[in-house]
Structure formats: structure tokens, C-alpha cells
């Protein structure tokens, strides 16, 4: 049943975000026309619009993920969702997966947009870009750049961090929306939803930040390698250090909150 839930989940949520992808595609095409025809103003205007599209795309996706979760479960459509012959864990699981995929896609869209903007900037100011590279070589900064293998590891680290960040965000938001739709709080679901999110996220984030610096578990990043180190982030001798405890703590709290969300959906939610 999870497959069917996912199919309908993506179908429903795609409606609210597809416009931004179409818009980005159109602007990118516009910029490429500018690059091919070498008409500078097209590239400049297109880059500004694409920059805005990328930001709006991420924002719209975040909003639509939250709105879709509320609409499909706690508005009238909840009568449809909660009477499907599936358990609440599957229902919630499908929404979490769809939300994570959409948010990450919005990041990918933003990355593609920024890449196109950079390509356009390079095309417009090719001479200046070459000059920047000369400066990097002359000042010895080139030697300080990480090796290819390190860059791959950093890429993986970045991808995992983004995934955990998005998962954590989704977990906290879905918990807040669900709590706000229990009988005691559902008279003002938006207000309580915001309050619960900012309180739980704020408190957990503060504890997570503390753990990031104080727990001796970090990644030491040098130009040669990225390796696990059992030292606290602020005592690390590496070129750059990344404390892991905070991120792991946030993700664990998000897992706990999602389990709690499933339990509330199963036992405490009241569809108006």
C-alpha cells in the first residue's frame, strides 16, 4: 500500500510545485537564448529572474509541503485519508518521503539555477573570471584547495547533512501540525502549530548546538582527507572541523517526534 500512497501523494503535491519548475525552465531557456545571441541584457535580466525563481521555488516548496500535509489529513480531505485501509504509519511515511523528495528537488532546482547564473556570468565576463583564477594561482591559494578525493567525501558529507537537515525539518513540522490538530489545540491550529514548531525546534536546536561543540565526535577536514575524530569540535587541530553530535541529536529527536506523530494520528487526532 505504501507504493500506492506514494503515487497519490506525489500526484497531489506535484500540482502545487510544478508551476515553479516550469517557470525556472522557461527562464533558463531565456538565458541560453541570451548566451547564444550574445545579447547581454537578456542574460542579466534572466539571471536576476532566475535567482528570484530559485529562492521562491524553495520557499514555495516548503510552504506547499506543510499545506499539503495539513490539507490531506486535517481538513475535510482527512475523511478520505483516514478512512483508507492503511495504518497511520504508512500514511505518515508516504508524506514524509514525498516531502523530503520535494524539498531536496527544490534545492537541486536552486543549485541548477545558480549554476546557470554562474555560467552566464562566466560568458558575460570571461576575461574577469580568468583573472580571478590567475590571482588564485599567484597567491598560492591553489595549494590550499582540497584534493579530488577530499572533495568527493565533502560532497557526500554535504549531501548527507542536507538530507538530515530536511528530514529533521519535516519531522518537526509534521509533529507541530499534528499536535495543533488535537482536540485541545485545534481551535487555533495555525497559532499553536507555529508555537509548537518554534518551541520544539528552538529548544532542540539550542541543545544540538551545545552538543555540536562539546561532544567529542567530529569530522576533521584537511586538504588531504576527511576523517572521524573523537575530539570536541572546538578542540580539533584540523583545518576545519564539523561536530556531529548536534546533527545526530536533531535527527534522533525528529525520529522520536515522527513516531509520536504517528501515535497521535492513530489515537488522538480529531477530524473536524
Amino acid at each position: 500500500m505504501l507504493g500506492k500512497l506514494l503515487k497519490h501523494e506525489f500526484r497531489q503535491s506535484a500540482r502545487s510545485v510544478s508551476l515553479i519548475y516550469a517557470c525556472a525552465a522557461a527562464v533558463i531557456a531565456f538565458i541560453f537564448v541570451g548566451m547564444l545571441t550574445k545579447i547581454t541584457w537578456i542574460g542579466v535580466v534572466g539571471s536576476i529572474v532566475l535567482y528570484i525563481t530559485a529562492l521562491v521555488g524553495v520557499m514555495m516548496t516548503l510552504v506547499s509541503v506543510i499545506k499539503n500535509f495539513y490539507d490531506t489529513l486535517y481538513s475535510n480531505q482527512g475523511y478520505l485519508s483516514f478512512t483508507l485501509p492503511v495504518n497511520c504509519a504508512s500514511l505518515l511515511g508516504s508524506k514524509v518521503i514525498a516531502a523530503i523528495v520535494w524539498v531536496i528537488l527544490s534545492f537541486v532546482l536552486a543549485a541548477v539555477c545558480f549554476l546557470v547564473i554562474a555560467m552566464n556570468a562566466k560568458a558575460v565576463a570571461e576575461g574577469s573570471m580568468a583573472g580571478i583564477w590567475d590571482i588564485i594561482e599567484l597567491t598560492g591559494l591553489k595549494e590550499m584547495l582540497p584534493s579530488g578525493a577530499t572533495l568527493v567525501k565533502l560532497g557526500i558529507l554535504f549531501a548527507v547533512s542536507v538530507l538530515l537537515l530536511v528530514f529533521t525539518f519535516v519531522g518537526f513540522v509534521f509533529f507541530a501540525v499534528t499536535m495543533a490538530n488535537t482536540r485541545v489545540l485545534q481551535k487555533h491550529p495555525k497559532l499553536f502549530g507555529f508555537l509548537i514548531f518554534f518551541f520544539t525546534y528552538g529548544v532542540t536546536n539550542a541543545v544540538g548546538t551545545k552538543l555540536t561543540y562539546s561532544v567529542p565526535l567530529s569530522l576533521e577536514i584537511t586538504t588531504e582527507d576527511v576523517k572521524l575524530a573523537f575530539v570536541a569540535m572546538d578542540q580539533s587541530s584540523g583545518m576545519l572541523s564539523y561536530g556531529l553530535a548536534g546533527v545526530l541529536f536533531m535527527a534522533l529527536v525528529a525520529v522520536g517526534l515522527l513516531l509520536l506523530t504517528g501515535w497521535i494520528m492513530e489515537h488522538k487526532v480529531n477530524i473536524k
Binding site: M1, K4, K7, H8, Q12, R15, D71, T72, N76, Q77, G78, Y79, L80, F82, T83, L84, P85, V86, N87, R183, E266, H267, K268, N270, I271
Partner: protein, 233 residues
Amino acid sequence: MEQLITVEDLHKSYGSKTVLDGVSFTAAPGQIIGLLGPNGCGKTTLIKILTGLIKDHTGTVRINNEEPGAYTKSIVAYLPEKTYLPDWMRPADAIGYFSDFYKDFDKDKAVEMVSRFGLDMKQRVKTMSKGQQEKLRLLLVICRNAELYILDEPLGGVDPAARAKILDLILENHAANSTVLISTHLISDVEAIFDRVLMISEGKLIVNAHVNELRENGKTVEDVFKEVFSYAW
């Protein structure tokens, strides 16, 4: 006899307000049951508990010997009072949705009924009239070969001519030997089809009888309803 619905000592409160207070009844397969009572008496709460939408109650509720959950939802076809289909859905989408999730959903019958009701497969719910939306919601329910149909006020917003048609449709199309539980205020329109009647007042089940027992004194179900609920008029 094996019971399809078993409810024992069911209690449900919203804060300090008791909505269901010790409700107990059973229902065998193959009956059409009227669930009657004035507004706010607890009918919809009872229905929400039977359909698994409310879980924080005390007492026992079993459908085919199972507590409300994924299994019971697969054998219960529920028509809520509210419009629950999203605005963007078309009849074709709704039929696809139901046939994906409910094994007992008869897709061919649903497609045939869409044209019989004069609905357009590609028209979005948000552009349909209220009557068209009700037809669509009703056909999605009666095209299931369910064991239990729970219809919450199916005649609520419908004109008298359409009511008779809807009732005929329910009678003609519900699965053989299934039980139909209909909650309604419009007793005179429906009473002819009931086998049994449950009347709820202030959270208590005060009448649980076969319609023939009620009619023994030459009274109609509506007469009994008016007597029982005279305080509420």
C-alpha cells in the same frame, strides 16, 4: 448469530461534555438500520468511532470481530456528511483513487454510473454543482462491494425528488447481505426501507428496535421519533 457490528458500553467525552454514554448494540449482516436523533445527540461521533476516525473512547467497538483499523476500513464504505474530495479531483481521478485502495471497488460500475448520473469524467470537483458533487461522492461509496455501508446524512442537501432516487440507488446497489447504517433527520423519506432503528438522545441509546415492533401500535417511525424527542422540538 455472528454479528457484523458489536458496540458495548461505549463512552466518549469532549472535555467535560459527554457525547456518548454507555451505548451498546449489535447489528447482524443484511440489515438496513436507521440511526436517528436530533442534532448534537452523538450520531456523527458514533459513526466516526465505527469508521476509525475517533479512537480515544472507552468501551468495545468491533466490526466483523475486529477493532476499527486498516482491516475494518477495507470492509466499510463510508459516506461522510462533509465534502471530502479535493477540488482538483475529477471523477476519473476519484475512481482511480478508490480502485487503487479498495479491493472491493467496482471500477466498471463506477464508470457506468458517472455517465448515468450525467457527470463529466474530466470535470473538476471545484467546478461541479453541489448536487453533482453529492452524486459523485455517493457513487464512490455504492460502487464498493462492502460489508458495511455507513451513510451520514446522505439526503441532507438534496431536494425531495432526488431523495427517492438516492434511496433507490442505495437499495439497488449495496452488496448482497451487507448492512447499511443510515444517519438521517428526514425520517419520513427513509423509514420504509429500515429494518431496524437506533435512536440516540443526549448520548444514550434509548430505542433499539425492529421497525415492526415500533409499528405494532399503528405508529410510524416518525411518530415514535416525535414522541421520543418531543423535548428537542
